[in-house]
Symmetry: C2
Subunit: 348 residues, 2 copies
């Protein structure tokens, strides 16, 4: 039997909160019987919801607060003035040892600022990053940074590679994930100075890391590597471009399959296959990004997700905790620093 | 009747050259009877091809050379040693007034280096950029830079906006194209310093430019703006990510529609609609990127394109020449510099 663990949930964050949070627990309860929940939020709204969802009720207790971070709040404002918000108290619960990890579907900037303030950084990590995972032709891959750091230097990229590899092992279940640095070409001389230096360090690293080298934008959808490492600007643009392209293709497919009676009949016959196709790329299946590099497990759910997506984010958090993701990252960083080549030591 | 014009073609550049070049002329000849062609390449291979394609033969003459740039040639090497290559001689023909524009499906780096060396820059432009266009939910949009400049400053971005707008007017036929700066969020404070400064300049510009502000990655596929302005690193990653995502979605759709007898039957009934869907996003329809900012018209065709794609690149070049794209860019730049706010003048 798996060890019991507790997740603290910002019950008020997200467009469909708190309903989708409680219903997300209800869905996750069957898959993850070893998980308990600390629901931080407005008791007057949460208690009636728990009455409707018996499995959630069996696994959750409420920590009441009336305050919540708004979507439009600036991170700095939320950090200063939001000490009694559901988001902040959910983070605090982890720092106080009452929970093993926190999940929020609320304001990303506020979550990053609060989690960084409360958890602090892992030793050896300069900046936190956001790691997301997404479908590819070969299954799924992870990418970081998705937008926490607009500009990154060599050390950041090397640290992202280490953190991304550990995340991929835990969330994708790949034994030895391959790592690629996102660039405008695969040849050695391409891209910025930082990318070329980071590539040299990763290639010579003492870690048993499967470093593939540079990858290009189309390698993301191909699934050429398990972990795509990039700065937060490029990662944010790439992931959103992929989402927008998938929606555009879906839009044209729908238009085509409703363009004539024959097409509609064809779509009806192929209904099960088309549903399977849609489900394969359903963003809810890939919901749950980690704020990695912090001395505490913090998972960000998409703000617009529903209960299925939130249940998925619960699964991601449970995997990360069970796999000891932060301990693994610390071990890898120590090996990289103590056993690295002279070049590594100079940079890290 | 339209004014006659001449395009010089690097007949040896591209995976399927020279056949697809000659056959591309054959296809374009019906649509563009006013265009003549200077085919620069190996006469022993070109002459027999012209015998097979009578319309191409009627509109083309051959300039013989045995030398050609190889795909793997470094730009600097091609520039120094490639003075008799089909690519270089095709560019020279424009500089010598024997043609109005050049098209090549060969080595992009070599083409950029040679065209920059022979044509020089337009007055007021610091760096050339690559402008491509692509399908969106609302039709088509253009994006620049697609990879000529890995790092860009404020002036580059502002100049890209001016050039992209003129390109969009000519190639998309939009009267007043809207312009967006690619960023990680739409709020004013997002992104790098360069992006925020470029946004301020474009917003205050004296040009009758429809500046939308910041856009995000998913706005590319949505078609939120007609012109997406970004640095060459981000643009290259975004376009390739979109291509890779479209291929991934296509891969899953094919898998779904061949997964059962019922699905296959459905796909058969919807065949015409599915073909229409595929054709809508066929990359050949969007073949023909311009190296913009140079004092000469230079169009880059995708290296792997076939005759349909090459015919499309011919159409792009003809539109750019007929629309006087470089004259329009020069006019806009002069207005921007002479009539700009004090802030513009300081930056440009």
């Amino acid at each position: 039997m798996n060890k019991r663990l507790t997740l603290s949930l910002d019950a008020m964050g997200g467009d469909q909160a708190p309903r989708m949070v409680v219903e997300g627990i209800e869905i996750a309860a069957d898959r993850l019987p070893e998980v308990d929940y600390l629901l931080v939020g407005d008791e007057r709204r949460l208690a009636p919801l728990l009455d409707r969802f018996p499995k959630a009720r069996a696994h959750a207790q409420i920590q009441h607060t009336e305050d919540a971070v708004a979507d439009e709040d600036k991170a700095a404002v939320a950090l200063r003035g939001g000490r009694n918000t559901s988001m902040r108290l959910a983070i605090n619960a982890v720092a106080e040892g009452r929970a093993d990890g926190v999940i929020s579907a609320g304001n990303t900037g506020a979550l990053m600022a609060m989690a960084k303030f409360v958890f602090k950084m892992l030793p050896g990590i300069d900046r936190p990053a956001i790691v997301a995972y997404f479908p590819t032709q070969r299954g799924a891959s992870v990418m970081l940074d998705m937008g926490a750091n607009v500009e990154c230097d060599v050390e950041n990229l090397v640290q992202f590679a280490v953190m991304g590899e550990v995340f991929a092992r835990n969330v994708l279940g790949v034994k030895q994930p391959s790592i690629g640095l996102l660039n405008v070409g695969v040849e050695g001389g391409k891209g910025t100075d930082s990318l070329r230096k980071a590539s040299a360090i990763l290639r010579e690293s003492v870690l048993p890391m499967k470093f593939h080298g540079f990858v290009e934008g189309d390698d993301i959808g191909e699934g050429t590597v398990d972990v795509v490492v990039t700065d937060g600007f490029t990662g944010n643009v790439a992931l959103k471009t992929a989402e927008g392209t998938a929606r555009m293709v879906g839009h044209f497919l729908r238009a085509a399959l409703t363009s004539s009676t024959l097409a509609k009949l064809g779509a009806l016959l192929a209904k099960d296959a088309l549903n399977e196709f849609r489900s394969h790329m359903d963003p809810r299946r890939y919901n749950g990004a980690m704020l990695v590099g912090l001395n505490g497990i913090c998972v960000k759910s998409h703000g617009s997700t529903d209960e299925l997506g939130f249940a998925n984010a619960i699964g991601v958090a449970a995997n990360l905790i069970a796999g000891g993701v932060n301990e693994r990252i610390k071990e890898d960083l120590e090996r990289l620093i103590s056993g690295g080549t002279s070049q590594d030591a100079a940079v890290l």
